[in-house]
Symmetry: C2
Subunit: 210 residues, 2 copies
Amino acid sequence: MIRNRIPDVVVKRLVTYLSVLLHSDFEDGDFVSSAQLGDLAAVNGAQVRKDLALFGEFGKQGVGYPVKALREQITKILGADREMPLSVFGIGELGTAIVRYIAGRRRSDPNYRFWPVALFDEDPRKIGTSVEGIVIHPLSDMETVLKELDVKIGIIAVPASAAQSVVDRAVASGVKGFLNFAPTKLKVPPGVRVHYTDVTLELQELAFYI
Amino acid sequence: MIRNRIPDVVVKRLVTYLSVLLHSDFEDGDFVSSAQLGDLAAVNGAQVRKDLALFGEFGKQGVGYPVKALREQITKILGADREMPLSVFGIGELGTAIVRYIAGRRRSDPNYRFWPVALFDEDPRKIGTSVEGIVIHPLSDMETVLKELDVKIGIIAVPASAAQSVVDRAVASGVKGFLNFAPTKLKVPPGVRVHYTDVTLELQELAFYI
DNA sequence: TAGATTGTTAATCGATTAACAATC
DNA sequence: TAGATTGTTAATCGATTAACAATC
């Protein structure tokens, strides 16, 4: 599969290019040069051309890349046209904020494709209640619910001590990718990805430069 | 200044090493080899030795690195012994969750050094109220409050549309580093750093592999 | 001492940038 | 056509890994 050959840095930049193309005010008929797009994405122009050339010849010499087609191409490369149902584990303060944030993004952007369809918590008082209209399930229902809804992405917002066991069960239920907000390293089998978001580590890094 | 020569990737790894050294159960008198530390941090052993050697000779041949001294050294290198007062801009759902999260970390870890000392919001109904005992100020008080408290780090949790103007004012008030949760690119003068945390972009990247 | 592991140099790998013929 | 910009190859840069003498 071609996807395996694409370096992670390229995927990250493609995400940036698409974001820039969607949020800068280009018209559908406009052309954008690699230099322009590079400026907007803080990337060298040659880098932009090389990244895009990995997937085909989208540009026109002397003119640039047609914005509309480029948006569509990158969308397709990233699979950003698929609806992506999410699960959120741990509906405390952080979990709730994340659910509300995504719900808000979706309300304001009709093309926003992420949507939490299944929330989980172990607190019996929360189970059966809902956030943004999405019901909170007990962890014990994980396998049934996730398989039923075909959820492939999970957001981990439980305490660090609970994260690994939640992930193990989610993996067993077919989840293939995690965004982990718990400050702990997670072990997952090959083929499953974990991306980390740790406010403390970010602050620590930032503090070095100050 | 030596700090300018240290690549960003090295700083990131040092943060990881320290985190691993603090959270794995090493005794003060233990030694750790570069191979062990590398395993824990998902980094090659030679990489670990090279990173550490940038700052001096901390290890003992045939034995490894003394855990206690190594913790202290990395702490010093990162400046992780300094108290770091924070400001949080935008005390909505996300801002509140972040403040509570940091407060919780600090309660459970006596060495946790980040602490929000100044919260800002533009909503008159919020101004004067507090979260975790920390008062919410109006944006118009920014300069006075930030300079008074000598705040160098800011967390941006306002809507994307408001982020740039908040940052401009915070920079004018002496803030040198930002952790930006708003889904927008920020312009800052040289010498000021911005780190980005965008849930949507993370999910987009993750979705590519699934 | 023998075994282990550092610090460091050299080799490798991969990613970024420059350059330019092709061509719109 | 003349000017601009692509796609791609070659050159550069930097980061990672391997190897090993020094030495605890």
